[in-house]
């Protein structure tokens, strides 16, 4: 469920907002929906990885691989597929860590809240 929420909202957000909006969305979604740390990280990682994989594949396809080959060469990589893997990994890490942070902040906030309310 968390995965689907992140996927949907981050996909929409990236059409209009800068790339780092994914971090805010992962954070907020996990803050709201995550049950466990592992689940939060995994959902954020895979959801962002899927959107970035989609975007990277799209640009690879519509330019017949020309653009991804050039950008790969710019980063001293000799294969566009390696560039694709790095892209997916980077997006995934940003998504995963943001979602994990969202979950951990909520947990910390709850324990503080719990302390104040005397529970």
């Amino acid at each position: 469920m968390l995965f689907l929420f992140i996927l949907l909202f981050s996909l929409l957000a990236q059409f209009f907002l800068p790339w780092w909006s994914i971090a805010v969305i992962c954070f907020a979604m996990a803050f709201w929906k995550a049950h466990r740390g592992g689940q939060a990280f995994f959902s954020g990682f895979t959801a962002i990885a899927v959107t970035w994989l989609g975007a990277a594949l799209f640009w690879h396809m519509v330019t017949d691989g020309i653009l991804s080959t050039r950008v790969a060469a710019m980063f001293s990589l000799n294969s566009p597929w390696l560039l694709l893997a790095v892209t997916v990994l980077l997006g995934g890490i940003v998504g995963g860590l943001s979602a994990l942070s969202g979950f951990l902040v909520r947990r910390a906030w709850r324990s503080v809240f719990g302390l104040f309310s005397g529970k």
């Binding site: 330019t63 020309i66 653009l67 050039r70 950008v71 790969a72 060469a73 710019m74 001293s76």
Partner: protein, 462 residues
């Protein structure tokens, strides 16, 4: 149109009245300095305010105490006199050239063209002509080779070469006109001094040699002429250089290099190794001759013509001696040492010696992004007709056949699209490297739809 290398920019040392620089001395009198405030807006930053001082010579590039951006070539406290600052009407020339019906009308149209001076080539169904056209200051021979005295009225430009008297030729007996940025006139045949640092004569000499030999020329003859890689530089100096080498003193590697050079036909072809050997040697030779007297960071060494002259005609010149050593070096010593040093430092892999790769020509992205440009593997040299050298080269190639129907062929090293993801980003590059040309569309009227016509736009008024 190609550039004329005439000297139309001079530096005048300005003697200011005092530190406030409200006046300057000229012809024994104080003249007012005009202070012009330039405001240069910076995006996201503070506007830069720059006060530019103007004398009658022109703007002062740097005040005496300022540090120039390019300190080795820009004098401080000097005013720039440049034809580019004069008001003229170049657009009017282009407008009138496009509407000229006859040669006299074409000539008339050029008279409002000041700068930059261009070699204008003219052809109609009966006539051919070339005019090195622009605003040329009247100077004494050599004026402006060195810094001029801004207080001395004799150093001022004294007027202009009359526009009717710029270098020109109409229907020459040899049957063709040509230019490769070389000096358009021989100083003995032309009364006015134009400048002293034109492009070398070698490219135009080769063009003229090929054109003189052509009979029944077709557009394809000119296409092939454009990628000619021959150079007069090695033809002029290499036999003399090789004679200076004692063959008995060479080791095996040096002998091979020597033989490669002595068998060379002076074509800078991509698969040859001799061009790289020669270029390295000639460069090392020039450095060895000049660098001791003219260190590169503070001096501009004499030009390549002077070096050729020294080697061929003044072998005992004092310039061959390295003044930093106690011994007395001769031209033979310089040739032998530089040859051995170059051979010793050659890369081991033969593939790296081939001229196409070794010259390291490339067309780079504006921001030098790797992956967005392309390495080239092609012949040519700075002094060949195919003047490809480093990141510079003959970028726009065109052949036009006049006649009942104008036909033209052309190519440039790149593509129509600036989008690096498009196949039209660099699709013409390979054809350009190979010297192929594409037929250019020249539509004759609104109903002329060539087969390449992909889109038809119809503009409708209200």
């Amino acid at each position: 149109m190609t550039n004329v290398g005439a000297d139309v920019l001079d530096w005048y040392e300005v003697k200011f009245q005092d530190a406030r620089r409200q006046g300057y001395w000229h012809n024994g009198r104080l003249k007012p300095v005009r202070h012009l405030i330039e405001r240069i807006k910076v995006k996201g930053g503070q506007t830069v305010v720059d006060t530019v001082l103007y004398t009658h010579h022109g703007p002062v590039a740097y005040l005496p105490h300022e540090k120039p951006f390019r300190s080795s070539s820009t004098p401080t406290g000097h005013a720039i006199r440049w034809t580019g600052h004069d008001t003229q009407n170049e657009l009017k020339t282009l407008y009138a050239v496009n509407r000229a019906q006859t040669y006299p009308q074409f000539r008339e149209a050029l008279k409002t063209w000041a700068a930059p001076a261009f070699n204008f080539v003219y052809a109609d169904s009966q006539n051919i002509a070339i005019i090195s056209n622009g605003l040329f200051p009247l100077k004494w021979p050599g004026q402006g080779q060195f810094l001029l005295d801004g207080t001395n009225p004799a150093h001022d430009w004294q007027g202009w070469v009359p526009m009717e008297q710029v270098p020109q030729v109409l229907n020459p007996a040899r049957g063709f006109v040509s230019s490769a940025n070389q000096t358009p006139v021989h100083p003995k045949d032309y009364p006015y001094y134009l400048g002293s640092s034109f492009a070398g004569y070698e490219r135009s000499a080769r063009i003229n040699q090929r054109l003189s030999a052509m009979t029944q020329a077709t557009p394809d003859s000119f296409r092939r002429l454009q990628t000619d890689t021959y150079s007069f530089v090695p033809q002029n100096v290499l036999p003399t250089l090789l004679q200076l080498i004692q063959q008995e003193s060479l080791n095996a590697k040096e002998k091979t290099a020597y033989q490669t050079l002595s068998r060379w036909n002076y074509f800078y072809d991509a698969d040859q190794t001799a061009p790289y050997l020669f270029e390295q040697w000639w460069q090392a030779f020039a450095t060895a001759v000049w660098a001791d007297e003219f260190p590169a960071d503070t001096f501009k060494a004499p030009g390549p013509d002077r070096l050729v002259q020294l080697l061929l005609h003044e072998p005992n010149a004092r310039w061959f001696d390295d003044v930093t050593t106690p011994q007395k070096e001769t031209v033979t010593d310089v040739a032998a040492t530089t040859f051995k040093k170059v051979v010793e430092n050659l890369p081991a892999a033969a593939a790296q010696l081939r001229w196409g790769k070794a010259k390291k020509s490339a067309i780079r992205h504006l921001a030098q992004l790797p992956g967005f440009g392309q390495e080239l593997n092609t012949g040519g040299s700075a002094n060949s007709i195919n003047a490809l050298n480093g990141s510079h080269g003959p970028s726009w190639r065109m052949v036009v056949q006049l006649g009942p129907q104008v036909q033209a062929w052309g190519v440039f090293p790149g593509g129509q699209s600036g989008n690096p993801g498009s196949r039209f980003y660099d699709n013409l590059l390979d054809d350009w490297q190979a010297g192929k040309l594409h037929r250019l569309l020249f539509l004759q009227g609104i109903d002329d739809r060539k087969e390449q016509t992909g889109v038809v736009w119809v503009m409708k008024g209200k």
